[in-house]
Symmetry: C2
């Protein structure tokens, strides 16, 4: 059983993944943030998987290889998506359900509508579907050499809270940390997802053969004026903490839809 | 303006996409189902994109090429994901916001938790984020030569309903059709998403060089006993219609999370 772990350890078992890949500074900082809270096992993509949403790999096989880049901490790199990593960890790496799954720390925001496109959050959501208390952390700074010190402290605090208090059933957390100095930080704020979106502006170019191609680009537009949103919190020097569900049913719409005529 | 369309037509403008690719029988049947309801424009993946979730393509450029496989109906194939197709359609193909976006008909179920992994539903969700009334259709039959006749009739009826009645704000529809004869069909049922999941069972194999690899497989497990779910409806010869939202905030969890200690 070369992949089994967590068998002889009474400490909490903590699964770590991300979408920027196993070598990203963000996941290294997340491991630092939680390793004193329990036994850490890392299963993360072997290459960047940003914007993969909740993709899973069904049309090709997956690789899962041990790596020693985290020293004593058991770590595997996987050829698949963030959701694949969690599925493989649960089925092939861990001998029992982890007590906590942490994802990130993402290089860049996953607030508001970005949660839908986020590989970081899909890893956390996959864990939550498996019944594992889960949280994704993102720092609003895309830079490779971003300063993760504030994000790391918040990750420690939130992870400890989850281990101590648990999470409401079928709920995971989306935590975003603003790009500010710790001296300017005002605290963690429980928020709702802002009603914002990307306005696409594809960059249209010609390849050397004269054929058109397009690069996805766009502008983030927040039309949500509420002061209870994640966008408001981040703009006002708070870290945002949004409880997230994977039951997407719009219950409020059911009465309306029941009034329709469906005869075929 | 080679890509602009819908400029000189007073009929409803209907965007069609899918995740099985532009040549799949499912999308051909969906075009047949809605083409008498308005002006149809197709922007669909040039290759199968099942299980892509809400992935978008940010690390490579996209291609968008006209194809005449639908005769008089304007059709483009795109090298990206279903969500990419909708983004490109809105930004580069259509001169105005469509009145309706239909996705599918998927070869295989997208009920319950499958909505999260579904490229079909991510196309519809991307349209909904753009403020376009949107619906995804899926037939619970993976076969290439599946019988789409019942699904097609349901698609026509639901699409006409949306054009006539609109949809509640920020709500899209997830419609699944059982694999049954039309004579056994009991009607369309408005449902909630069943609380079900996949139990992963990765198939572990050795490649010709003796290195391990894994195929994702699994068993769908429905522990939700409610008779108001999509799974119940499909098992009982109804088509399921679930209203879906993309605000994932778990509002019911906020009070609990506000009681936590967040000092760092």
């Amino acid at each position: 059983m070369p992949y089994l772990c967590g068998m002889n350890d009474k400490r909490p078992l903590i699964l770590v993944s991300n979408d920027d890949g196993i070598t990203a500074p963000g996941i290294r900082n997340l491991v630092e943030a939680v390793k004193h809270l329990g036994e850490v096992v890392i299963v993360a993509p072997d290459s960047p998987q940003s914007a993969m949403g909740h993709a899973v790999t069904i049309s090709k096989p997956l690789r899962l290889d041990k790596t020693d880049i985290y020293g004593d901490i058991l770590a595997y790199q996987c050829s698949g998506t963030p959701a694949d990593c969690v599925k493989l960890a649960v089925d092939k790496v861990l001998h029992r359900k982890p007590d906590l799954m942490v994802s990130g720390i993402n290089h860049g925001s996953n607030s508001s509508i970005n949660i839908l496109y986020s590989g970081t959050m899909s890893a956390a959501m996959e864990a939550a579907i498996e019944g594992i208390p889960a949280v994704g952390f993102s720092l609003c700074d895309f830079a490779y050499d971003a300063d993760f010190s504030l994000a790391k402290k918040i990750a420690t605090r939130v992870a400890a809270n989850i281990l101590n208090n648990g999470l409401p059933q079928a709920t995971l957390l989306n935590v975003n940390i603003p790009k500010i100095a710790e001296s300017d930080f005002k605290g963690v704020r429980v928020c709702r997802q802002a009603n914002a979106k990307w306005k696409e502006e594809f960059d249209e170019r010609l390849d050397p053969n004269g054929r058109k191609y397009f690069w996805l680009t766009g502008k983030f537009v927040n039309n949500d004026k509420g002061d209870d949103t994640d966008e408001w919190a981040l703009a006002n020097h708070y870290a945002s903490l949004v409880p997230v569900q994977f039951d997407l049913t719009a219950h409020h719409a059911m009465a309306n839809l029941n009034s329709w005529e469906y005869t075929i």
